[in-house]
């Protein structure tokens, strides 16, 4: 089949709302975009376990510890669903991990900020998972079948994460003056980075065009960010948290909130590797990956040994 013809046929399938499956024809650009976006998504789930893992041993109650453990286990599971889905595009798990560890593949910059105290665990669940859900709900309708199915599964599990975070923030806002100050401080530190999770403005997002045309992304960065802002500000106000932005206001005509400009310099600095925890996150991942190598080797050796045994007894 002539390539140009295949690309036209592919686009007409997309325009008809069909899903693309692993063995279907797809343009090289589509495959590349998916590998980059999905692996970045998978890496984010896995690296995102670190700031929260830091608080398992210091959770303030047995209840909150159990919940945090379950949440982190979910994040690990989400990473695995996504890795499986990327692998259907013909890239191996080992390659994906290498790309992460050498810095060739990125993960969400939000995880390069530290979780300094228990209020941060609330802010992460509420704001970071909240932003992730807005993005993921939209991605349930993405055009690549395995990605879409992974998103449906993840969305089902993720909504408890956002509620868990909001519950922590609510509890602290009902507490002492000090607890309220802690919650507000966490809000102040996480608000802007959470808004940056949606990526650059549409006008500065070079790859957005193709991703929308191919229906990998169903809504643009700015549309998703606005959704998140409009849903989150009323939640903040309800429990007495202040939005760390002097200029934010509700536009009565559109029903949308408007904010001060986002500091993109900070965003680009953190993406480029100069956030507070970039090095720590990668070093940790590499260390535990290497220390776990013997487990994978032993499992492989056991497989070979038992296969030989079966051959002898057969």
């Amino acid at each position: 089949m002539h390539n140009e013809h295949s690309d036209t046929h592919f686009q007409s399938r997309i325009d008809n709302g069909e899903h693309i499956e692993p063995k279907d024809y797809m343009p090289e650009g589509y495959r590349k975009h998916l590998i980059r976006q999905m692996s970045q998504h998978a890496h984010s789930e896995v690296i995102g376990m670190q700031p929260e893992g830091n608080w398992i041993t210091r959770a303030p109650s047995l209840r909150s510890k159990q919940i945090l453990l379950a949440k982190i286990q979910d994040e690990g599971g989400h990473g695995l669903y996504l890795y499986s889905a990327v692998e259907t595009l013909g890239v191996s798990r080992a390659e994906l991990i290498e790309q992460l560890q050498t810095g060739k593949a990125k993960y969400s910059s939000i995880f390069n900020y530290p979780a300094l105290n228990w209020a941060d665990i609330g802010a992460i669940g509420w704001l970071v998972d909240g932003a992730a859900i807005v993005n993921q709900v939209s991605l349930q309708r993405t055009s690549y079948g395995p990605y879409s199915r992974a998103m449906v599964r993840i969305c089902k599990e993720e909504s408890f994460h956002q509620r868990q975070g909001y519950e922590i923030m609510t509890t602290m806002m009902r507490g002492t003056k000090d607890q309220q100050a802690m919650a507000q401080d966490a809000m102040n530190r996480w608000w802007w980075p959470a808004l940056m999770m949606f990526g650059p403005h549409d006008s500065d997002s070079p790859r957005s065009g193709d991703a929308v045309k191919w229906k990998i992304k169903r809504e643009t960065n700015d549309e998703l960010r606005q959704k998140f802002i409009d849903k989150t500000i009323p939640q903040a106000e309800l429990i007495g948290l202040t939005i760390p932005d002097k200029n934010f206001k509700l536009d009565e005509k559109t029903g949308h909130y408007t904010l001060s400009p986002i500091n993109w310099e900070e965003f680009h600095r953190v993406v480029a590797g100069h956030g507070p925890c970039n090095k720590q996150r990668l070093d940790h991942h590499i260390k535990y990956h290497q220390e776990g190598a013997w487990v994978r080797e032993a499992a492989d050796a056991y497989k070979i040994k038992t296969a030989k045994k079966e051959l002898v007894t057969a």
């Binding site: 499956e21 063995k23 279907d24 024809y25 286990q73 979910d74 599971g77 695995l80 669903y81 499986s84 889905a85 692998e87 191996s92 798990r93 080992a94 991990i97 290498e98 199915r149 992974a150 599964r153 089902k156 599990e157 190598a293 994978r296 080797e297 499992a299 492989d300 056991y302 497989k303 038992t306």
Partner: protein, 96 residues
Amino acid sequence: MATDTQLDLWEVFIQSKSGLPYIHSGSVHASDVKMAMQNARDIYTRRGEGTSIWVVPAKHISASNPDDNDMLFDPSNDKIYRHPTFYVMPEGAKNI
């Protein structure tokens, strides 16, 4: 890094309730069937999604080629006698 192994790929099918079909849920990496079963349980059934799991080595699954779809899934419109509506029922006869 060169010798790093990520183990074998297995496909996971889960039956959500007894009597219902097994549906593909995703995949896991594992070195043997025992590990594949354990990983499938941990990854795909943390919230009571299933009552039974199948794990199958991915290399043993054959898939049809999408390029053959026209030929493979031709509904054979010339064999309309495969549909019940092809048959004429006498006036007044009731369906079973």
